[in-house]
């Protein structure tokens, strides 16, 4: 098993043995450049690793490895808006960062970028195509950025029907397509906006993360800027499920891969972006959000860090492992569904992303 760790100063890999108790650190990769995402696509047999590396000098690029992360090569191309469409435009689009990489399980890899846009490659990164109907959506001129920028940071592809895709954009909300990207529509029904006079607008939500269990794929869980939500119909309708949490603010959300009603969030105080009362805890529901309980045995009680939106992961083992990375460079993990936690790594740079490659 491997844990891929993207940080603001390069990427790392933690290699774990079958017990998930012993981990060895490799890295940093990518010359210390900001790495917002590292993922492995195992759909073709031998895993292909991708990393979203946002160099502060030469622009955002994609690196790829086909030898287990031992060596990395920059892909021929990276997601870019079509230059001909930008010519002479006052508000010309240019990719500043890649935030999210998402293999669709069939050989395609999607990329979400800032300023908000969706791209995909079908040839392992040799070329990238734009999802034009989304990137040039008629409402685009009115989209507002979140504090992290106007970024498309979440991509969810339906495991059984890859034409159904949901993306999360801050601060625009959930946008979805059911026909492989020909048309996109807003899917924010019942999701609250606390920073608008209209509490439930069609769009303008600051969605932070969406996750699902592939075996119950129509059910989505969403951590919003304010509120945690569940959808039973792949985003058509949402129900707020945060009663009992110490804060409805947080960034990541993760669904246990073997128990689809078990979900983890990491609540933060809204303004300070640190754990409520400094007591760091995952919060877990075992019944799809009806009840939540803290899961903090082994986690620090005086902590003033954050867990960023991409910095939580779950594995596919029977007693589902849960992993989280902090903004101060620690990785904590549990191999018993959150009952107890251990520290896997410390003194890393600010952690932007975690991703698991199961055995």
């Amino acid at each position: 098993m491997q844990l891929l760790v993207g940080t603001v100063k390069g990427g790392f890999i933690l290699d774990g043995d079958s017990s998930r108790r012993n981990w060895k650190l490799r890295g940093p990769f990518f010359d210390g450049f900001e790495t917002y995402e590292m993922v492995a696509d195992a759909s073709g047999g031998r895993p292909e690793y991708y990393a979203a590396v946002n160099t502060w000098t030469w622009g955002p690029v994609i690196y790829k490895s086909i030898d287990g992360g031992k060596s990395w090569k920059r892909t021929k191309k990276a997601p870019r808006y079509a230059a001909k469409k930008q010519k002479g435009k006052k508000d010309a689009l240019a990719v500043k960062r890649t935030w999210n990489l998402q293999p669709d399980g069939r050989g395609r890899v999607y990329a979400g970028v800032e300023p908000a846009g969706l791209f995909y490659t079908d040839d392992g990164g040799a070329s990238w195509q734009e999802s034009e109907s989304l990137n040039y959506h008629p409402t685009r001129g009115k989209w507002n950025p979140g504090n992290g920028g106007l970024c498309l940071h979440t991509i969810v592809v339906h495991p059984r029907n890859p034409k159904k895709i949901r993306v999360g954009v801050s601060a625009v909300g959930v946008i979805g397509t059911d026909n492989g990207g020909k048309d996109w529509r807003f899917m924010n029904k019942n999701i609250r906006v606390d920073f608008s006079p209209v509490k439930y607008p069609e769009w303008g939500q600051c969605v932070h993360k969406i996750d699902l269990n592939p075996n119950k794929a129509d059910v989505l869980y969403l951590q919003n800027h304010g509120g945690v939500y569940r959808s039973a119909d792949f985003g058509e309708n949402w129900t707020e499920i945060d009663k009992g949490l110490p804060s409805d603010f947080g960034f990541p959300i993760a669904v246990n891969r073997t128990k689809p009603d078990t979900v983890y969030v990491f609540p933060m105080q809204g303004m300070g972006r640190f754990p409520p009362d400094g007591k760091f805890s995952a919060w877990r529901t075992r019944n799809a959000g009806r009840e939540w309980a803290p899961a903090h045995k082994g986690l620090p009680e005086h902590a003033y860090f954050d867990v960023l939106r991409e910095a939580a992961a779950v594995d596919g083992e029977e007693h589902g492992g849960v992993y989280c990375g902090t903004s101060t460079g620690q990785v904590y993990y549990s191999v018993d569904e959150g009952e107890s936690w251990r520290q896997m790594a410390d003194h890393l740079p600010r952690i932007a992303s975690l991703s698991i490659l199961d055995n």
Binding site: K9, D31, T57, W58, K76, A82, A83, K89
Partner: protein, 94 residues
């Protein structure tokens, strides 16, 4: 006589290219296009898809930084000109 070009070691590492080379080009934009044919990603590393030189890249032509000019890619080059492509001093926030 072509234009002489020198690039920072950071870019040499990033693109696996040589630090010093010569190019036949009549403008900065043409220089990037020509070199991009040899070293894929060269143009994209220097300027974005909107045609702007990237914020933390400086391009000196005979000692003058032209990177922030409105139409930097149109900046004319002549035989014998010396071009330096460097990363600016940045990174304090990291």
């Amino acid at each position: 006589m072509p234009v002489k070009v020198h690039v920072t070691n950071m870019l040499v590492r990033h693109l696996d290219t040589e630090p010093d080379f010569q190019v036949q080009a009549r403008s900065l934009g043409e220089l990037l296009e020509v070199k991009d044919q040899d070293v894929e990603g060269f143009r994209d590393s220097i300027c974005d898809e909107a045609g702007k030189v990237r914020v933390y890249v400086n391009v000196f032509v005979n000692g003058e930084n032209v990177a922030r000019e409105d139409e930097a890619l149109s900046y004319p080059l002549e035989e014998g000109d010396e071009v330096y492509i460097l990363a600016s001093v940045a990174g304090g926030a990291r």
